[in-house]
Amino acid sequence: MATVSTNEMKAGTKVLIDGDPYSVIDNEYRKPGKGQATNTLKIRNLKTGRVLEKTLKSGDSWEVADVEDMDMQYLYNDGEFWTFMDPKTFDQIQAGKAAMAEAAQWLKGEETVRVTLWNEVPLIVYAPNTVELVVTETDPGLRGDTATGGTKPAKLETGAVVKVPLFINEGEKIKVDTRTGEYLSRVGK
């Protein structure tokens, strides 16, 4: 069993606590000059996304989680599973709904995505930071109204709904930030 000690834990270190994989976000070392040292670890549960803080005595350790990040190509979704391919080995793996919670609404196929694997099973799939998608449903655009800053909902080809400026029309392609779900710009034809 590989372990990692408090002084080796860095942002991104993957650890196993009570059977769940966590990623270290921040490691705060505290020590009175002549007293007990502690490390306060801010960690994210990679299954639930919940962030919590734990304190360890400096020098204590946690088990290392067998977690790795891989860039993979999204192939298709059969309604139950999403299938991804390792572009180097052409190995295919399938991710279930839980791993796709954030990413599913942004993917249409062929994108390269970051997949976090735990014991070789997809734990989380991250959509690319920005995606370009076609608007399939929205209220008619208001020509010339490019400055009022008003917004309206628009449905995209993947099913995601985002707020867009009033001048956007159905059939137009837009760029969206998947981390915030915000409209960024119109994509030229």
Binding site: N7, K10, A11, G12, N27, E28, Y29, R30, K31, P32, G33, K34, G35, Q36, A37, T38, N39, T40, E53, K54, T55, L56, K57, S58, G59, D60
Partner: protein
């Protein structure tokens, strides 16, 4: 954030390194004006600190047949050698020295750092606090309000003000309970003797709650620590007894630690031996304590106060940097 391992560039900007040079020059001028003697003492020693919570780097010769004199410890502070100079009649002395502490690594820690340390025969800890304040104001540290000096809290007042209780009145169980009630997660995998140790819980209170609130505007002193945290300070026989020790905090960060120094050789030896015993039972390294310091105390250390101040942290706070690495030419990951 994962750093590249082969980054050759400095951790600090060249502008910050200029500020470092200016700071060192200002310190040197301060001590020259006061006619305090600058000294240099060995960085590598045959002895080491036996402080329970400070680990020394061990330096050994690559030759396995090496004589024992080829094996030593990097200093964690120049304290012992400087006291031997005082016992030899040096009068007031100061130095800036590199010091090394194993495993101390973080936003505000680097295993190698720079210590300013000085000793004042005839001073007690309060008088030395005056001088620490004078030096740091000279170097650009702020005043809280003109005409008033920096806040000075006794250890008890600091806890009463920032933790809401008298630290001398509570036992380990009560300190632990209150920490949990405060929402501070206690460390995992505690040993029975840690759970039963008042100092263990007081340290957590200090580093997680009290210190974090100290010196928000201008630096603040804490003095008269529990006798159980005397380190190398003399203990004043009151009820409860207190150690004549002080620390300086600025924006929640510990900047300096000073003592009205213990001069009693027998008491010093007892503390060294107790610390070694503690280390032995806790599975820590048990280096030889500095018998030459005991001999110097037996010969006679003049009554004095001394203080050690972290130059890198001072520079970090003066320059508004967020991380210690930002003021080091090369932090440990690039050293």
């Amino acid at each position: 954030m994962i750093r590249e391992t082969a980054d050759w560039r400095p951790s600090a900007s060249i502008e910050t390194l200029r500020a470092r040079a200016q700071l060192l020059a200002a310190i040197r001028a301060f001590f020259r004006e006061r006619e305090i003697l600058e000294v240099q003492t060995p960085v590598l020693s045959r002895h080491a600190t036996v402080d329970r919570h400070i680990e020394s780097f061990v330096v050994s010769s690559p030759d396995h047949e090496a004589r024992i004199t080829d094996h030593g410890f990097l200093q964690t502070s120049p304290e012992f050698a400087m006291k031997r100079l005082l016992a030899a009649g040096s009068g007031p002395i100061w130095q800036i020295a590199p010091v090394f502490r194993c495993e101390e690594q973080g936003r505000h820690h680097n295993p190698e750092f720079t210590m300013l340390e000085w000793y004042r025969p005839g001073f007690d800890h309060h008088r030395l606090m005056n001088e620490v304040e004078a030096l740091l104001r000279r170097c650009g540290a702020p005043q809280a309000m003109p005409e008033f000096g920096w806040r000075r809290y006794s250890y008890r007042e600091a806890f009463e003000t920032f933790a809401g209780f008298d630290p001398f009145a509570l036992d380990a169980a009560a300190l632990r309970e209150r920490l949990a009630a405060r929402g501070i997660a206690e460390p995992e995998s505690l040993a029975a003797d840690e759970i039963a140790s008042r100092d263990f819980w007081l340290d957590l209170w200090m580093s997680h709650v009290v210190a974090a609130q100290l010196g928000a505007d201008a630096p603040a002193f804490v003095y008269d620590f529990p006798a159980s945290q005397a380190a190398l300070a003399r203990v004043r026989d009151e009820e409860p007894p207190v150690a004549e020790r002080f620390e300086l905090f600025w924006r929640g960060l510990e900047l300096a630690n000073g003592f009205h120094e213990l001069t009693d050789a027998a008491e010093q030896q007892r503390r060294f031996e107790a610390d070694r015993q503690w280390r032995r039972t806790h599975g820590r390294a048990v280096p030889p304590y500095d018998a030459t310091l005991i001999a110097a105390l037996q010969a006679g250390l003049p009554s004095c106060a001394g203080v050690a101040l972290g130059i890198d942290r001072l520079l970090m706070l003066l320059s508004g940097a967020e991380r210690l690495a930002d003021v080091l030419a090369f932090a440990a990951d690039r050293a």
